[in-house]
Symmetry: C2
DNA sequence: TGTTAGCACTCGTATAACGAGAGTGCTAAT
DNA sequence: ATTAGCACTCTCGTTATACGAGTGCTAACA
């Protein structure tokens, strides 16, 4: 159970076990390791080493006298130290950039859905895309327009390029003049603020006695969260459920898929948590907080849209191609960063 | 194979077979039918009748000397003629209305997600909610506001209560004055039109040589579909995948679930097709166009939002509680109709 | 001390045989 | 037309068996 480094030979054998198991999904025998690792040793030697690896908790035996399969800790060691430079075939690279350019000009939800689809297709795994939390998006401009005696249209554009719009009720009628004046005032107050902050500011402003345009602004503030879908708007896009079901580890008991798909919050929580701003975060099996999620691994990357971040990720059995998928997610993170920062500025590459 | 009516006794036996099979998921024996149907006949008699029903294709034997299970045609006969008045327990009724009132004032996507959740919880099935096609929604008002030198915010509100907004690029700068005039003109043109029609009208108008505000309106029209997510905006909300996996018919081979979840279009097509404006449409197993969907049944209802219709539905194995689920979907259709027609007019019940 | 060949042992999987039980289909009696 | 009785069929669970893959161990070797 020491944390010390493995010898080079141990590392090679661990790698071989992982690579082979990822391919075949069956316990890996010592002789298979000999073949794959290229090591010039006998299977007996490999067995000795494997025993050592097992004692360290890196691999395990499903039952006595079976081959070895990687343990969560083994995957962890592999991901952290053995995996080597992440790798994404040129083929996939070009495909991704190509498909992404087509998406220029489309709204964020569409882009994210399509990107999730791309990811799941390339990864052959369940892919998930998380929209940036609009809560911390910075408001560029708001607009309030009267529709009829009791209803107004409100629209917000964020620096991130996201927009929100909704119709809200206001008891007393407002004419266009008033609405324009109110809009101007509103923008003075909230333009340049994050959505979350703006809500607080507005609540105070509107609460004051001499607040102008109160009859218009009060209802707006009251209905703020519902109207703009602000709070729970970290929408999740799934794609590629079919891949999940194809993995032998889930083909008999697919209940995990149900758990994942049905609990947006659970997943959002997971996806939000670990990822570092820049890097790709890998969560392996038992490392997940949710008990239900033990047995699956997550690879999550983030992309910036203005001041906020969204996430893209891949979910699959712990037996997954970490190197390739980390490469994929990382690469796509970068692409999306560019995509959203060059924003509408057309093709600046 | 005659289409003639069944005798009363035959109907009772068919009903018993279906009811029992729906509960137990196991082939129904003649003696079980005797118990359940309340008929005062021997099991031998029931066997004779069952043979007749089998020859008509209403029920079938999984293998020789097993009980009978309903065939698709049997379910069909049951749904069309035997099911009797649809039934939804008072408990569920009140629950639905209660949960629905809480959703007042929330935007359509949120409402639909929550409704799907409610449906799946009550039905214990995979539920699906389809947003109304915005294509045929009637535009109430559009608004164009300049943001900076090259970008404008556009917002549309539909009579249905739906709204769309987006940022678009326009080469030459526009001041607020111009934008207001353009907005006025725009509303003259498209207010009161369906979104789909408005697109065509605008395209012609903008194509004309002396079109005013061309520098502003041209880009708007060009980016119309992408901007407003108009064409492919029949968003699908799924809920309750876990229920699907619990059914014994899918627990071993869950690949169907993958197919359903991954092919939004396939499903949207299905859901769009059959439902009559007012009624609840039931599609049973092999009646589905898509081969992949044989083995599952659909119950679909519609709700009106202004001039457009959306759908809610339930997907499950053919072995489902048709009476209850038709009741549920029908009831909810009505509730949603009211919900959206009383629109923002607060509590008019 | 590390490595390896050889071999006995373990354990899962596949296959067949078997019995029990459920349910039908048929026949003959009512 | 209905039904009691009975033989027949088919599934399912259990047990026995053989097979094979793979290990762990021991002893020999560099």
């Amino acid at each position: 159970m020491t944390r010390a480094d493995l010898t080079e030979r141990e590392e090679k054998i661990l790698t071989a076990v992982i690579r082979d198991y990822v391919e075949t999904a069956r316990p890996v025998s010592s002789s298979a390791v000999v073949k794959r690792s290229g090591l010039d040793v006998s299977s007996a030697t490999v067995r000795n080493v494997m025993r050592a690896l097992e004692e360290r908790g890196l691999i395990r035996q499903p039952h006595t006298s079976a081959g070895r399969i990687p343990a969560d800790e083994g995957y962890r060691y592999y991901v952290d130290r053995l995996m080597g430079p992440v790798l994404l075939p040129e083929r996939d690279r070009t495909r991704l950039t190509a498909e992404l350019t087509v998406l220029r000009g489309h709204d964020l939800a569409t882009v994210l859905t399509e990107v999730s689809r791309m990811v799941s297709d390339v990864a052959h795994q369940l892919a998930v895309g998380l929209e940036p939390a609009v809560e911390s998006s910075v408001i560029e401009r708001m607009e309030v327009v009267p529709l009829d005696a009791t209803r107004c249209l409100a629209a917000v554009s964020m620096r991130s390029g996201q927009t929100r719009s909704a119709v809200f009720e206001c008891a007393s009628p407002a004419d266009r003049q008033t609405a324009q004046a109110a809009t101007a005032l509103l923008n003075d107050w909230v333009a340049g603020l994050a959505v979350g902050d703006a809500e607080k500011i507005l609540a105070t402003k509107v609460g004051e006695k001499d607040c102008p345009f109160a009859s218009l602004l009060c209802p707006l503030v009251e209905q703020w969260p519902a109207l703009f879908h602000f709070h729970d708007s970290e929408r999740v896009h799934y794609e590629g459920a079919r891949y999940m079901l194809r993995h032998p580890e889930f083909s008999d008991d697919a209940s995990i898929l149900g758990e994942i798909l049905d609990s947006e919050e659970a997943l959002a929580d997971l996806v939000r948590g670990p990822a570092d701003p820049q890097d790709v975060a890998v969560t392996i099996g038992g490392e997940n907080r949710r008990k239900k999620m033990r047995g699956v691994s997550l690879i999550v990357g983030s992309y910036r849209v203005g001041a906020t971040v969204g996430r893209i990720g891949v979910i699959g059995p712990t037996r997954m191609r970490y190197r390739r998928l980390v490469g994929l997610v990382g690469h796509l993170s970068g692409l999306l960063d560019d995509f959203f920062s060059s924003d509408g500025t057309e093709e600046r590459r």
